[in-house]
Symmetry: C2
Subunit: 458 residues, 2 copies
């Protein structure tokens, strides 16, 4: 018989990993909810007509497509077969798996536009699927956690995103991070300022790589993309930001890009956003204005956000920005919104590498009760219920086995306390409690066992 395997690029999450992941999910969910974002879930499958054409040609290739049910091949002709995979696909598949949470959200907004109170604030935490080549840190199924507010262009929403990012990071215990912020209008203004108006797209693609390939290679790439030496020489100020403070960076941008009304608007938006966040009481802000930040530019029209954890070489753990045309592809133009997405897998890697998971986040059962014989069950089972009533996760070892085996079980599951009940314990009404971390043993009266343990697990 063949050994079962997992499809490549997919993973099982066992108990310890799951509990750590649940800590991340719960923390993000609670923060989203405290900020007034409302939960939404959409189906894993969408019609291919909803998904295709939304992620570029490459994205269309990376969609997982679902074979039609029933006799899907019944009406195929030999000619169909000879058209090749690309043309054959729509004849045998009409549905695909969700590629991100943004397009399903847009589809939902359009389908429910008459019943949604605007502004509409939603969060969504669900897996997405991409038929990417699997590699370290890249999977074919992974979770996204998105929060968006649509139907308003108020900068209060940008300020809220900044507050929420700080809150999520602190609640996770990631104290040392950098929130980079930019604005599409500043990128557009830079393109204007160097005499290449409208070219912020190719400009961004090149300068986005500054961290990775360095200034010289960025300039080479700009030359290849048709930027003149004169334009390139005017880019110099971009490489001289000292990032002493957000205010200093904004002042530098104001001076450098004085001639671009667009850039001035972008700078003013960032300035107001930061003021609003400060007004709301943001302390120890870990914000850096980064005029090179573009995040692929994609559909962003205003603020652009990106979060990295410091001290680890793991990519960004969160990103987002403002867009003005979320639902345009579905015939509902001009809907402005701003959103942020947290990547659970990368957050997990950061917290694991920096040992940031709180003690107990990987822990499940707190108490294992071990009755040594059938008589001991008379004491064990009521005690079990008392623990659970006190909201302490508790188990009873169900079989009669060797003591070592049962203690090994507790250790393997990282259960911190074991209650041992033999005939002596039943007669004296004094149970043995073993602390599995310290190895200490105590005799405790049956009635005091629950409080003894609860006091020690906090």
């Amino acid at each position: 018989m063949q050994k079962p395997t997992l499809p490549k690029g997919t993973r099982d999450f066992g108990p310890e990993q799951m509990r750590k992941r649940l800590f991340i999910f719960d923390t993000i969910r609670q923060t989203f909810q405290r900020f007034g974002f409302q939960p939404l879930e959409t189906p894993s499958m969408e019609n291919l007509s909803t998904l295709m054409g939304k992620y570029g040609d490459e994205g269309d290739q990376l969609l997982f497509k679902i074979l039609n049910s029933g006799d899907f091949a019944g009406s195929l002709t030999d000619a169909d077969l000879q058209t090749g995979s690309k043309k054959l696909t729509p004849k045998i598949s009409e549905k695909g798996l969700r590629y991100d949470l943004t397009v399903p959200f847009a589809r939902y907004v359009v389908m429910n536009r008459n019943n949604l109170p605007m502004p509409f604030k939603r969060y969504q935490m669900q897996p997405v699927w991409r038929a990417d080549r699997p590699q370290k840190g890249r999977y074919r199924e992974f979770y996204q956690c998105d929060a968006d507010v649509v139907g308003t262009d108020s900068l209060i929403c940008e300020a809220e995103i900044i507050l929420m990012i700080h809150e999520v990071m602190r609640n996770l215990g990631i104290q040392d991070f950098t929130l980079k912020i930019n604005n599409r209008k500043i990128l557009a203004g830079i393109a204007e300022a160097i005499g290449m108006p409208g070219q912020e797209g190719p400009l961004s693609v090149a300068i986005d790589k500054l961290d990775k390939i360095g200034k010289d290679k960025v300039l080479d790439e700009l030359r290849e993309r048709g930027f003149s030496e004169e334009a390139i020489s005017q880019l110099d100020p971009l490489f001289t930001f000292d990032n002493a403070s957000t205010a200093a960076t904004l002042d530098q941008l104001t001076n450098w890009l004085a001639a671009s009304a667009t850039a001035q608007k972008g700078v003013a938006e960032l300035r107001e956003t930061l003021q609003l966040a400060e007004l709301a009481g943001l302390e120890n802000a870990q914000i850096e204005i980064d005029p090179t930040l573009a995040r692929g530019l994609s559909y962003y029209t205003g603020a652009i956000f990106e979060v990295k954890a410091n001290g680890v070489s793991i990519g960004s753990i969160s990103g987002g920005g403002r867009y003005d045309n979320l639902t345009g592809a579905f015939g509902m133009p001009g809907l402005s919104g701003v959103g942020i997405s947290f990547g659970v897998d990368r957050i997990y890697d950061v917290m694991d590498e920096l040992a940031l998971f709180p003690e107990g986040a990987g822990q499940g059962t707190k108490v294992l009760i071990i009755p040594f014989d059938a008589d001991a069950r008379v004491v064990a089972l009521p005690l079990l219920s008392q623990f659970r009533t006190a909201n302490v996760s508790a188990e009873v070892y169900p079989d009669l086995a060797k003591v070592k085996k049962m203690l090994d079980y507790a250790n393997a599951k990282q259960i911190p306390f074991v209650v041992l009940i033999g005939s002596e314990e039943v007669q004296t009404n004094q149970l043995t409690i073993k602390n599995m971390v310290s190895g200490e043993q105590h005799k405790v009266a049956t009635n005091d066992v629950v409080s003894f343990v609860t006091e020690r697990i906090g």
Copy 2:
């Protein structure tokens, strides 16, 4: 432009529905964890070699299959096409979507057998997909919530399942339910007692329908299935159980099936299971021994469970039982276990129909802060943060709009309190708090606003 639609049989869950669903998920998850079950998640996709042949021919048909990525048709021949859909499928698809949580669990246990502490208690709460014909209450994507313990045949585990079902129902607020229990050995014993040993399969299929079609039609079906008049006449006691108590039913079974050692073993198992549950302190047990319960019999070898909510005509909301060969299909025979599955969609329907959701379960944001002008934001934004620090979900209305529009927004989102801040409020430091349920308005000093609201939302 075509209006976007959802694939048939799938659903969006908007904010109010989601919050109610999260109440159900959280309640079940917390109960599972308190009972020492550990979380597991498996990928949405499995290899078809893992899934096929595990659910019968019909199940194989109902699997959603995923088209291979890339040039899947490249190596197809005209001959392949002419073989028809069934033979073509394995040539263009190697993966399918999860059909239930049991087979992926079995696959996980086999792949991790050397590292799992046994007995292994896991719970799993994830969607499953079936290409069924959609109809009322039947969807192509729905959640299952399963808890299983494998690697032990101790009846303590059956007792724990009984306790846990009662606990889940009570924590959900479903007070009036019936937990029906049977045992495969009793069904086998009935077949023996009427002279048809080994025929509990066809026997069960017929008597399982007793509730729906009545005794006469059940007997007709048995005749069609080859049961003699003599055998059928001996079935009479099956229709005369008065269910006065579980003890009475067990006594009746003991007498009726005195000649079958198998049946006696089944009765003894049920008796001990109930004793263990009682020992653990089960109060107000809502248990009925039902010797006709079979749940399709499938792979059950011992206890069989089924839960129905009383007072609604909605099918079973939970079911499970003991099995002895979970992992046999993957080359690891003889692993005994017992499990229970809760159906979130049906539980939702029950709770909705009986109005059992606790007040606030559908509610999100508790406070909306409305600043009437830019100056008012200076008061509004710090207040917003104070609410959140006090763990109260709070929002600020981000735009300047007409009062009616903003209050309509609060009503549409069922936000119970609104804080109104205009120039007068800013000057006097007395903010207006409006209770959106009662319509009452209060003037409250800015510093007291948070405590005023928290006292009233409990």
